[in-house]
Amino acid sequence: MNAPLRRVGIVVMVLFGLLFANLNWIQAYKADEYRTSDYNGRVQVADYKRKRGNIEAGGTAVATSKETTGKLKFQRTYPGGAKYAHVLGYKPVNLADTGIEQVENDFLAGTSDQLIGDRFKDMFTGDETGGGNVLLTLSKRAQDVAYDQMRNNQVDAKRGAAIAIDPRTGAVQALVSMPSFDPNPLVSHNTNEAAAEINKLEQNPDGPLKNRALSETLPPGSTFKIVVAAAALENGVTKSTPIPAGSSYTPPTSGSPIRNAAASICPEPQVTLLEAVTESCNTGFAQLGVRLGADKVKEKARQFGFEQEDLTVGQLGEGGLRTAASRTGDMLNPDGSTDPAALAQSSIGQNNVRMTPLQGAMIAGSVANGGSQMRPYLVRQLLAPDRTTSYYTAKPRELRQPVSGPVASDLREMMVSVVQKGTGQKAAISGYTVGGKTGTAQSAPDRPDHGWFIGFALDKNGNPVSAVCVVLEQAGSGGSAEAARIGGQIMKAAINDPGGR
C-alpha cells in the first residue's frame, strides 16, 4: 500500500501547489486591481479615518467634516447646501468625487506629499491630525447674491449660470450654475441612499450636476460683438468711424436677411462703431464681420481665449475644474471658401459660435484690465491642518494679452456707453463706472432666446474691481436685461465684499 500512499502524498502536494499558484495570482498579479477596486470598502474606511480638511470661502467653512460614531469616522457636510455645490463638488463614500473636493483631494485628505511632515509628526505624537484646509477666492456676499438672484430671476429661466472674476487677478468671486443641487445627500454614509440620489439628479432633464458656468457652451449672441469690435479697432476702424448699418442686411451670396432686434435700432444707412455697440446693431456688425473676413474674426476670438481646451480653474498651476472650450465654429462653404452668410451670422454671435459663461467674463475682464487677461483661479491658499503653515498662496498671472491698451480703452468706453445709455442700463451701480454688453441668442427655432450679459465695474480711480458674465437659458424676451440686472447686483456685492484674492 506504500506506492499509492506516496502518490497520494504527491497529489496533496500538487493540490497545495495549485493553491499557492492561485494565491500568487490573486495577491501578486491581481493585487493592485483588487486593492483599488470600486467594491473594496477598505480604501474608504481608511479615507475616513482622518478628519478631512475644510474648504472655506471668506473665512467661513463651506465644506467640513463632523465626527460620527459609525464605521466611517467622519461625515462630510456642506453647510451652504446647494449654494456652493458646483464649486465644491462632493466627496461621496462610493461614487466618484467632483469639484474642488476632487481636485484638492490629496491635500484635504491629508495624503498629499506636501503634508508628509505632518504625517511624520503624527507618528511620534500619536495624534491623528486632519487633512489640510483649502481657502477659496469666492466672495461670500457675491456668491449669496448670485445664487439668490439666479434662483429668483424675474424671467423664470430654469437654467443658467453666473460667474464673476476679479479682472486684476483672475480670482473667481462668484460661481453659480442653475439649477443647483444639495450635495449633502450624496455624501451620506448610506451608500444606497446616495446612489439613489445621484440617479435622480442624473435623470433630471435640467442637468443640475452640470457646471454650466465652466462647461456649458451656448451661442453668445451680441456679446460676441465685443470680439468683432476689437478686430475692427485693430484694422483701421475707430470708435467714431461710420460703418454701414440699415434695418436689414442680406449677405452677398445667399442666406436670409439679418435684421435688428427692433425697428428703432440703427435704421440709418451708417452709424459709428460706438453707436453700433451701444444699440447692439446687428446689421452693422454683420457687415463689419464680412468686411474683416473670417480669419480676422476667428483669430481675435482665439486671442480672447476661444478654442482653448485645457484651461482649468483651481490653483494657478496644474489641475482644477475642467472647462469647455468656446468655439467660433465653421463658417465655410462646402468647397472650402468662406460662406459670407455664415460669417455674417457668426459676427453677431449666432451660427456655430459657442461660448462658456467663463469665457464671457474673461472677455469683459480683459477689456476692463487694459487688455491683459488674467488666468482665472478658485484656490487662494492651502493651509496646514493646524493652520500655521501655508503650503500654497496664489500668485496671479497673466494668461494672455488679447488686445492692446488703446484698443482695450476704446472697447471699455463703448461698453460703458452700453450701460449708460444702451441695452445694459440695468447693470448700473451707483458710485461705480459699469460697462457691459448684452446678448440675446437664438437657441432653437421654436425655443425662447437665451439672455446674456457680460460686464465689468471700475472704481473711482478707473481700476477694475469685478467682471461678470450672466446667462439665462431660454429666458425669452427681457432675458438679457434681467441678466444685466443680475450681473450688476453680483458686481455690487463683490465690490462690498471682495473675497479673497
Binding site: 496533496v12 494565491l23 501578486a28
Partner: protein
C-alpha cells in the same frame, strides 16, 4: 518531497538496526518546536495589539500562555503515552490553532468599543470561546490517546462507528431547517445557544469504517477485475459500497446543500479505496462519478432548480463573482479584495479590516488573515498544513499494519483535501463551499474533530516508529488486530 525522498522502513527492516535509529523518541525536539510556536503566537498577539490599540497591554500574553499550558500538557501526555509519536505534528497544529485564536481575538478587539479594548478579558468574545474550545479539544485528544493505546483497537468498533457516521451525516438533512440550517446549508444541530456540526465527527467515524471494510475487502477489490482499455476495472458487484457512498455524497450535496462536505466524503472514500487496492481504475471511477454528479447537479440546477438551485448558484458565482458584486457574489468578491489588498506582505497583524468580510471568523478566515499577513504569510500557513498532511502520510507509510496505513493515510489526505476545498473556495480556484478551515476557523465541532484526528495520527505515528521488540511488542498490544491485517503484512515486503 519528504515522502518520496525518504522511503519508509518496510516491516522487514524495522526489526534490525534501523530499530535503534527509530528508538529515539524526539520528544525534546517536539518541546522546543512547541515553545517556538508559542513564542510566534505571542509575538503575533503583541503585534495585533500594537497595531490595533497603539500599545501592547501588559497581559497580551495571557491567551498565548493559556494555549501554551494546555499544549504543554498534551506534550507531557504524549511523552508518557505515545513517546514515539511524530514530533512535528503537535507544534505545527499548535501554531495554527494559536494563530487562529489570535486572529479571532483580533476580530474581537476590532469590534469592541475603543474604551473596552485594552481590558478585553482572555476568555471574552469569539476568540475567548475558541480558546476555551481549544482547551476542551486538547483535553479530549489527550483522553483519546489515553484510551486508545493501540490504533488497531478502534477497528473493533468499526461497524458501530460506520453506522454512527452515517447517522451523523444524515441527521441534519432529516431534521427540520429551523434546527439544522445556517446560511442556506443544513449542516448543524442547534439546541439552545449551542450548535454542533455532526459532519465533522462523521468524517472520523466513517474513515475508521472505510479503513476496516477496505482492509477486509481489499483483495477481492484489487484482484477480481476485468481489463478494459488497459485499465483493470472492478467487478460490478464489488462496486456496491462505492455507489452507496457516492449516493450518500450526492444526498448530502442536494439535501444539506453542501458541496464541500460531499466532495470531502467522496474524496476521502475514493482515496482510501485507491490506497487499499492500488488500482488507478478506482480513482478514475471516483473522479468520473464525482464530476459527473456535480455537472448533473449544475445542469439540473439551471433547468429544474429545486434542491439543485443552490449548487447552480454557487457555480455561477464561482464563474463570475463580479457579475453581482453586491448581493450574490458579495462574500467571494470581498474575500478576493481582502486577499488582493493584503498583497505580498499584508497590512500587518491588526492592520487590516476583517470586519468588512462576511463570515470572516468561519469560512473566510483564510482571506481575513491573508489581508494582514499577505502572500508570504499565507504561503507559510500552507506549508504548515502541508507539513501536517505529509507527516500523517509518512506515519501511514511507516506503520506496519494495513488498517493503520489506511486510517492514517485517509485522515491525512482528508485534512489536506479540506484545506484545499476551503482555501481553493475562498480564492476562487474552485466553487466556494462552506467548510471550516482546520484549526483556524471559529467553531467547537470542527476544532474538536480535527484535534481527535491529530490524536489518531499521533497514535498511528507512535505505532509506526515504536521499535519492534519481538514478543514484548505483541504482548503490549492487548487488543490484537483482525487476522486480515496479518495476512496483509507480507505483501508489503515485495511491494516497497
Amino acid at each position: 518531497m519528504t515522502v518520496a525522498a525518504t522511503p519508509a522502513p518496510s516491516p522487514a527492516t524495522t526489526g534490525g538496526d534501523s530499530g535503534v535509529r527509530l528508538a529515539r523518541s524526539r520528544r525534546n525536539a517536539e518541546l522546543s518546536l512547541l515553545l517556538l510556536a508559542m513564542v510566534l503566537v505571542a509575538a503575533y498577539m503583541a503585534t495585533v495589539e500594537a497595531n490595533l490599540l497603539d500599545t501592547v497591554t501588559p497581559d497580551f500574553w495571557m491567551p498565548a500562555a493559556a494555549l501554551g499550558a494546555v499544549f504543554l500538557g498534551l506534550h507531557l501526555v504524549i511523552r508518557f503515552l505515545a513517546p514515539f509519536a511524530d514530533p512535528a505534528l503537535l507544534p505545527a497544529v499548535a501554531l495554527l490553532n494559536g494563530l487562529g485564536v489570535g486572529f479571532l481575538r483580533r476580530i474581537d478587539l476590532g469590534e469592541a468599543a475603543p474604551v473596552d479594548r485594552e481590558d478585553l478579558a482572555t476568555f471574552a468574545g469569539i476568540g475567548g470561546r475558541q480558546l476555551a474550545w481549544t482547551l476542551a479539544s486538547v483535553i479530549l485528544a489527550a483522553g483519546l490517546l489515553a484510551i486508545m493505546r493501540d490504533h488497531r483497537s478502534v477497528s473493533r468498533y468499526a461497524y458501530t462507528l460506520g453506522l454512527a457516521g452515517i447517522v451523523l451525516v444524515m441527521l441534519p438533512a432529516v431534521l427540520p431547517s429551523s434546527i439544522s440550517e445556517i446560511n442556506g446549508a443544513k449542516l448543524w444541530i442547534r439546541v439552545g445557544g449551542f450548535s454542533l456540526q455532526p459532519g465533522e465527527f462523521a468524517k472520523l467515524a466513517l474513515l475508521v469504517f472505510f479503513a476496516y471494510y477496505l482492509v477486509r475487502k481489499r483483495e477481492v477489490l484489487s484482484l477480481a477485475s476485468r481489463r478494459f482499455l488497459g485499465i483493470d476495472f472492478p467487478r460490478g458487484r464489488d462496486l456496491g459500497p462505492v455507489v452507496v457512498v457516492w449516493l450518500i455524497s450526492l444526498l448530502v450535496l442536494v439535501f444539506e446543500k453542501d458541496l464541500g462536505t460531499s466532495l470531502l466524503y467522496f474524496g476521502m472514500f475514493v482515496v482510501t479505496l485507491y490506497i487499499a487496492t492500488e488500482r488507478v481504475s478506482w480513482l478514475l471511477i471516483g473522479l468520473i462519478l464525482f464530476f459527473g454528479g456535480a455537472y448533473l447537479a449544475y445542469v439540473l440546477g439551471s433547468t429544474v432548480g429545486g434542491p439543485f438551485a443552490n449548487f447552480y448558484l454557487r457555480a455561477e458565482i464561482w464563474l463570475d463573482p463580479f457579475a453581482d458584486p453586491h448581493v450574490k457574489g458579495y462574500q467571494l468578491v470581498q474575500g478576493l479584495l481582502a486577499l488582493g489588498t493584503g498583497g505580498l506582505f499584508g497590512a500587518g497583524p491588526g492592520g487590516g479590516q476583517p470586519d468588512i468580510l462576511p463570515e470572516v471568523q468561519n469560512d473566510f478566515i483564510f482571506a481575513g488573515i491573508g489581508e494582514e499577513i499577505g502572500l508570504f504569510g499565507l504561503s507559510a500557513l500552507l506549508v504548515v498544513y502541508l507539513l501536517i498532511v505529509e507527516r500523517g502520510l509518512r506515519a501511514a507509510l511507516a506503520v506496519r499494519d494495513s488498517f493503520g496505513k489506511l486510517l492514517a493515510g485517509g485522515l491525512a489526505f482528508t485534512l489536506g483535501l479540506q484545506v484545499f476545498v476551503i482555501v481553493g473556495g475562498i480564492s476562487k480556484l474552485i466553487p466556494l463551499t462552506g467548510q471550516t478551515t482546520p484549526f483556524l476557523s471559529a467553531g467547537g465541532s470542527s476544532l474538536m474533530a480535527n484535534w481527535l484526528l491529530i490524536a489518531v495520527l499521533l497514535r498511528v505515528s507512535d505505532g509506526a516508529r515504536r521499535p519492534v521488540t519481538g514478543g514484548a511488542g505483541k504482548a503490549s498490544r492487548p487488543a490484537g488486530g483482525p487476522p486480515e491485517q496479518l495476512h496483509g503484512a507480507p505483501t508489503e515486503v515485495i511491494k516497497p
